[in-house]
C-alpha cells in the first residue's frame, strides 16, 4: 500500500492510497480522510460510493464532507467505482465497464475476472482500512447515483455489517431502468432472476435487519423519472414496513452542488448511529 496524496484538510489529513486488490486483480486507489481525532483514538468509518464516471477524487474534492467528518470524528473512505488498468475489460460508453462497476460481482465474460466490486467494498477494503488505520469496526455507508444503489444494496445484503446507510439520488431499482438493465445484462446475463439480489427495491422485502434508509433526491434531477424513480424503493419499504426517509429536495439536480448541500445532514445521520 502506497500513499500517493497527503494533504492537510479541516484539521486532519486527506490522503489517497494505491494498493493491490486481490479481489479485483488490479491496482486500486482509495481516498481516506482522517479527521483530527484520529491522531488520538480509533474512529468509526463512513464509506462513500461514487457514481458513474467517477473515481476516488470526485467526492473528496467537491462534496465538502471533511469539515463535517472533523466535527463528528468520523473517518471517510472513498474507493474508486470499478477495477482499473489495461488488463481490465472495458466498453464504449460511460455506463458500462471502467467507472461503472455497479458494486456487484459479475458472473459473465469478459467481466467476471475483475468486476467484483461488492466483495471489494464489503470485505477487502474494510479489512485493509481496519488493519492499517485507526478505525473501529463501526461502519456506515453512503453514495451517489450508482453509488447510492451500491450503498443500499451492500447494506441490505450484509445485515450487521453496517450501522447506518444513506444515499443521494440512488438508482433504487436497477432491474427496471435503462442504466441498470444495460449493466446487469452485461455483468449478470440475460436471466433477470439473478438481477434481483442486486436491486435495493427487491432486497428490502428480504431484509432481516431494519436498518433505516435515508435518501435525498433532487426534484430537478434530469435522471429522476428515467433512471432513479425513488418512489419504487419507498413503495417496497411501505409493503414490508422497512423504515425509510425519502426527502425530495425542491430545485436540486444530480450534481455535487446537491451533495454538498446535504452531506452535513448525512454525516450527522451516520454519526448518530456510529
Amino acid at each position: 500500500m502506497e500513499r500517493i496524496e497527503h494533504r492537510a484538510c479541516s484539521g486532519g489529513w486527506q490522503d489517497v492510497y494505491r494498493h493491490r486488490s486481490e479481489v479485483l486483480g488490479c491496482e486500486m486507489n482509495f481516498a481516506i480522510y482522517l479527521p483530527p481525532q484520529a491522531a488520538a483514538r480509533k474512529l468509526p468509518v463512513l464509506y462513500w460510493l461514487s457514481g458513474l464516471t467517477c473515481n476516488e477524487q470526485n467526492f473528496i474534492t467537491k462534496a465538502g464532507a471533511q469539515r463535517y467528518a472533523a466535527e463528528h470524528g468520523i473517518i471517510l473512505v472513498a474507493p474508486d467505482t470499478s477495477p482499473r488498468g489495461d488488463e481490465v475489460a472495458d466498453a464504449e460508453g460511460y455506463d458500462l465497464g471502467k467507472g461503472a462497476g455497479f458494486y456487484l460481482n459479475a458472473t459473465e465474460q469478459p467481466w467476471a475476472k475483475h468486476y467484483r466490486m461488492h466483495d471489494y467494498i464489503v470485505d477487502e477494503l474494510p479489512a485493509l482500512i481496519e488493519a492499517n488505520f485507526p478505525a473501529t469496526g463501526a461502519r456506515g455507508i453512503s453514495g451517489h447515483s450508482m453509488g447510492g444503489h451500491g450503498a443500499l444494496v451492500v447494506a441490505l445484503r450484509n445485515p450487521g455489517r453496517y450501522r447506518s446507510v444513506s444515499a443521494f439520488s440512488p438508482i433504487v431499482a436497477p432491474s427496471q431502468v435503462p442504466w441498470g438493465e444495460k449493466a446487469f445484462t452485461a455483468y449478470l446475463g440475460e436471466d433477470r432472476s439473478t438481477w434481483l439480489q442486486w436491486d435495493a427495491s427487491e432486497l428490502v422485502a428480504l431484509a432481516s435487519e431494519r436498518l433505516p434508509l435515508l435518501v435525498d433526491q433532487g426534484d430537478a434531477d434530469d435522471f429522476l423519472g428515467g433512471q432513479l424513480q425513488p418512489q419504487r424503493l419507498q413503495a417496497a419499504c411501505e409493503v414490508v414496513g422497512h423504515p425509510i426517509e425519502l426527502r425530495m429536495q425542491p430545485g436540486y439536480d444530480h450534481s455535487y452542488y446537491f451533495i454538498a448541500s446535504f452531506i452535513g445532514d448525512h454525516i450527522a445521520h451516520h454519526a448518530e448511529a456510529l
Copy 2:
C-alpha cells in the same frame, strides 16, 4: 448576458453567466452564488479571484463556500482569471496569457488590447452585478495565489471601493518572484518602476486607507519560499503600521483543501465588515 448554469445549492442558486466585456473586448464567464436571502433583499458581494490556470469553475466546485455565504447572507462572485477567446493573445506555459491575467492592465503588446483585468474586476463587473442582481454597493474581495495578489492589489489601489479584503497563499511581492517577474515583464515591460503600482508589498506603503489584511498561508505550500514569501508583505505593513493578520497554517499546502478548510473564517471576516 446569458445564464449558462443554474443549480440549487445550500438553499440558494449557483449560477454561471456569459457576457460581452467591453473592457476586455471578449466574451467572459462569471459565477455567482445567490444565497437564499437574495430572494427577499439586496445583499453585499464578496468577489473571489482565482489563481493561475483557473477559470470561474474552480472556486464554486471545490471551496465549499456556498454554505457559509448562505449562513451570512452574502453573494459570491467568481470571475475568470483572464480574457478568453481565439482573438486573445496567449503564450506557452501556464503562467502567462490565458488563465494568468494577474488582475492588472497590460501596457505592452500583444497584451494591451485585451488584458485589462484590473478594470474589469474593479469597475465593469461590479457595475454589471449591481445592475442585474440583488446586490448592494458593499463589496469585499478575496482570492488565492495569483488571485490573492489580485485581491490585495485591487483593494489597496482603490480606497473606499472595498470594505474588506483577504487572501489565501497570495503572491504578495510579484516584483520580486519568478511568477511576477515573468508576467510583469510581458504585460508591463522591462521598466520595473511601472511594476510597483501592481505589487501589494509596495502599495501598502502608499495606502490612504488602513483596510485590515487577513492572509492565510500554509507552511507546507511548495510555492511558499520561491513565489509567495508572505513575510515581505508583513514587513511592509509593519513599516507603515498597516493592519495585517498573517496566519501560518501548519501542514497545509497550496490546494483547494487548504481553501476549503479556512474559507468559513474568511467569509465570517468579510461578513463582519459587510
